[in-house]
């Protein structure tokens, strides 16, 4: 276990280093990405730009700039080049909304896709399966901004059942929190349910042909018992990996579209705004955060894996 944790920590540092470096270099090289010009504003003179460039150290060698940026990020002293806010504080502010979205939607999409996927596999080839296949396809191909817009228009604006967007803190009003989160949860889940249920359906269909499932039937277990005890348990293992990584993505601000359309002011929305303005400091912090969650949850998934499948000993 020590070996596992040590190795994972090293891997995490490596991944975060590479990702931050790539992001940093990318923003250095894109046209119109010059931060000095952006900071100076549209009407700035060449002198002003040169002054800012010197002031912020943009004239220094690139590795010096990178090192300074990283130092700032990890001391929490990193500021947006455009709006001047402290990025780390801003991320902290956005985290509750993003976590609410991720955890709620995660639970919904995981459980719904297990039910849908199992049902589709059991009824494989029959009409129920066909209907579920079509629905999954619709779910996967519906872009969240479109589905979100439709939901807001009909259920929010027309019927007035739900608010039109925004985030209410769980601690200030749990009921309002819930009401505000329902549509975002749904919108985000639909995409994943479609995808996960397809994956689960095919894993179950593979597992059903395993020898040990035949053994279970030969023991006299009913179809239901066989399915629950032997097929599902073994089929869920690949789903867990997918879930860990996707969940990490969402926590790390990956649900950009959903957060933006429902105006949740989460990390995703922060990232979306920053990308629009090429605000490198914000983008870097969000990217690092995502990388952190992905690597950390991948480790959790591995531990869970070893628990679900005794054949796997925790390895790197």
């Amino acid at each position: 276990m020590t070996r596992f944790i040590v190795r994972r920590l090293i891997a995490m540092i490596g991944v975060m280093f590479v990702i931050s470096l790539l992001t940093f270099l990318l923003f250095e090289s894109i046209p119109n990405g010059d931060p000095a010009r952006r900071l100076a504003g549209r009407l700035a003179t060449a002198n002003e730009i040169a002054f800012i460039r010197k002031e912020y150290g943009f004239d220094q060698p690139i590795y010096v700039q990178y090192a300074r940026m990283m130092k700032n990020i990890f001391t929490g002293q990193v500021y947006s080049y455009y709006q001047g806010f402290n990025v780390v504080d801003e991320v902290k502010l956005g985290l509750p909304a993003t976590l609410s979205l991720a955890i709620g939607a995660g639970i919904i999409w995981l459980f719904t896709s297990i039910v849908v996927g199992t049902l589709a596999a059991v009824k494989a080839g029959k009409n129920t399966d066909r209907l579920l296949t079509v629905l999954s396809m619709v779910g996967v191909s519906f872009p969240p901004f479109f589905l979100g817009a439709i939901l807001i228009y009909y259920l929010g604006y027309k019927l007035n059942w739900f608010p039109l967007g925004g985030y209410v803190k769980l601690t200030s009003d749990p009921w309002q929190w819930f009401v505000h989160m329902v549509l975002p949860w749904f919108t985000l889940s639909v995409l994943f349910i479609g995808f996960y249920s397809r994956v689960l359906r095919s894993t179950i269909l593979d597992t059903i042909n395993e020898d040990y499932v035949r053994t279970a039937r030969a023991k006299g277990l009913s179809e239901n018992q066989t399915l629950r005890r032997h097929v599902l348990r073994n089929s869920l293992i690949p789903i867990i990996t997918l879930f860990g990584l996707d969940f990490a993505q969402v926590i790390g601000g990956g649900a950009i579209l959903t957060e933006s359309i429902f105006n949740l002011h989460g990390i995703g929305q922060l990232a979306a705004d920053a990308i629009g303005r090429l605000d490198i400091t914000v983008i870097l912090v969000v990217v690092l955060l995502t990388a952190f969650f992905v690597v950390a949850l991948a480790a959790v998934v591995d531990i869970l894996y070893a628990f679900l499948d005794p054949r796997i000993r925790i390895a790197v």
Partner: protein, 385 residues
């Protein structure tokens, strides 16, 4: 039969016993196609917090020496995990040996690199157990055969003709050249695998369980084909199998392996009439004969237990944990491969089916107990009797 070891002898032998295994005395008559000496293939097991350290080895092949003569079929038998497959994979240098030496026609290929191996691979081909897995499913049979033909240096315009010849030689017809491997049955696929091996015109073919995946009636067809090809083309075979009866049908000489070591080397027929090593006897006894009456008459002691782990092989003789004849010495002193008359060799302290004279006349390596003036193998048995 229980055998009591005289205490004195045990002590003496223990002292005399070498730490390391000794070379097998082999006659080197220059006609050897393949010469293997003290070959070891270990797979390291690694672990560590930051940097991997080696914490042990899988002793897949552990000090194996033998030679293969031109035109000969050498059978290698043993149960799963005995190292037979690793051994031939090392021989064709799909693996690089940990120690020892492999000489092909006198030239050392033990650590030869890809380039140096190229001409040797043209003379040395391998046929695998699972014809399904060893043929590229996206290539037609014609294409599968064309590549090795090109390597052999057959001009482009003759490749089609050569492929037809080959496919005909293995008992398939030219129209099969346009098909994909999945369109064939297991037996036919194995024929294609053989044709591919023959395409470079090799001298030596290493066969890794070539018929184990096939039905009995098809097995016979493939075995017969292999024998015809050998007669016709003067091939040498190394035939690896777990099935002693298949090996009997094809081999001139047979090596019996157990846990990475050679237990017995014998001229083909003799192994079945006069097995010297108790492990060979156990293997032979375990095979049911498809003849009910003979089967009932045969005495068949069942060997209990299972092969130990090759990571920590037992000290002394590797078979002593399961051997019905094992005594104290077997668990402490590793028996050396001893040459009896007629090229028959066995590594056992308590050989069977050999007379005292044969034991006395046997040739042992310089550092083995006999040459140190100690008891001959089987001596204590004679005394007990």
């Amino acid at each position: 039969m229980s055998v009591e070891e005289p205490e004195q002898a045990t002590a003496a032998r223990e002292q005399a016993a070498p730490e390391q295994t000794a070379p097998a005395p082999e006659q080197k008559d220059g006609g050897a196609l393949l010469d293997v000496e003290h070959l070891k293939m270990y797979f390291p097991i690694k672990s560590g917090v930051l940097i991997d350290r080696k914490i042990g080895n899988v002793h897949a092949v552990d000090d194996v020496s033998f030679e293969l003569r031109e035109g000969e079929t050498l059978g290698i038998v043993g149960e799963s995990g005995c190292g037979k497959t690793t051994l031939i994979r090392t021989l064709v240098r799909l693996l690089e040996p940990t120690a020892g030496e492999i000489r092909f026609r006198g030239s050392d290929i033990t650590h030869a690199d890809r380039k140096q191996l190229e001409p040797i691979r043209r003379e040395m081909q391998m046929v695998f157990q699972d014809p399904q897995a060893s043929l590229n499913p996206r290539k037609r049979v014609g294409q599968i055969l064309a590549t090795p033909l090109k390597i052999r240096g057959v001009p482009k315009e003759q490749i089609a003709q050569e492929s037809r010849k080959l496919i005909d030689r293995v008992g398939l017809s030219p129209e099969h050249l346009n098909r994909f491997p999945h369109e064939f049955s297991g037996g036919q696929r194995q024929r294609i695998g053989i044709a591919r091996a023959l395409a470079v015109d090799p001298r030596l073919v290493l066969l890794d369980e070539p018929v184990s995946a096939l039905d009995v009636s098809i097995q016979a067809q493939v075995i017969n084909l292999l024998e015809e090809l050998q007669d016709e083309l003067g091939l040498s075979y190394v035939f690896v199998a777990h099935d002693l009866s298949v090996v009997r049908h094809v081999s001139d000489r047979i090596i019996v392996m157990y846990l990475g070591k050679i237990m017995e080397v014998s001229p083909g027929e003799e192994l079945y009439h006069k097995p010297i090593h108790p492990y060979t006897t156990a293997l032979l006894g375990a095979i049911p004969i498809p003849d009910p009456r003979e089967n009932r008459e045969r005495s068949r002691p069942i060997v209990g237990g299972e092969p130990p782990s090759p990571v920590r092989p037992p000290p002394g003789c590797r078979f002593h944990t399961r051997c019905p004849r094992a005594t104290d010495i077997c668990s402490r002193v590793e028996p050396q491969l001893t040459a009896y008359s007629g090229g028959h060799m066995a590594a056992c302290h308590h050989p069977q089916n050999v007379t005292d004279d044969e034991i006395k006349a046997s040739t042992r390596s310089a550092d083995s107990p006999l040459s140190s003036g100690e008891l001959a193998p089987g001596e204590e048995e004679r005394q007990a009797a």
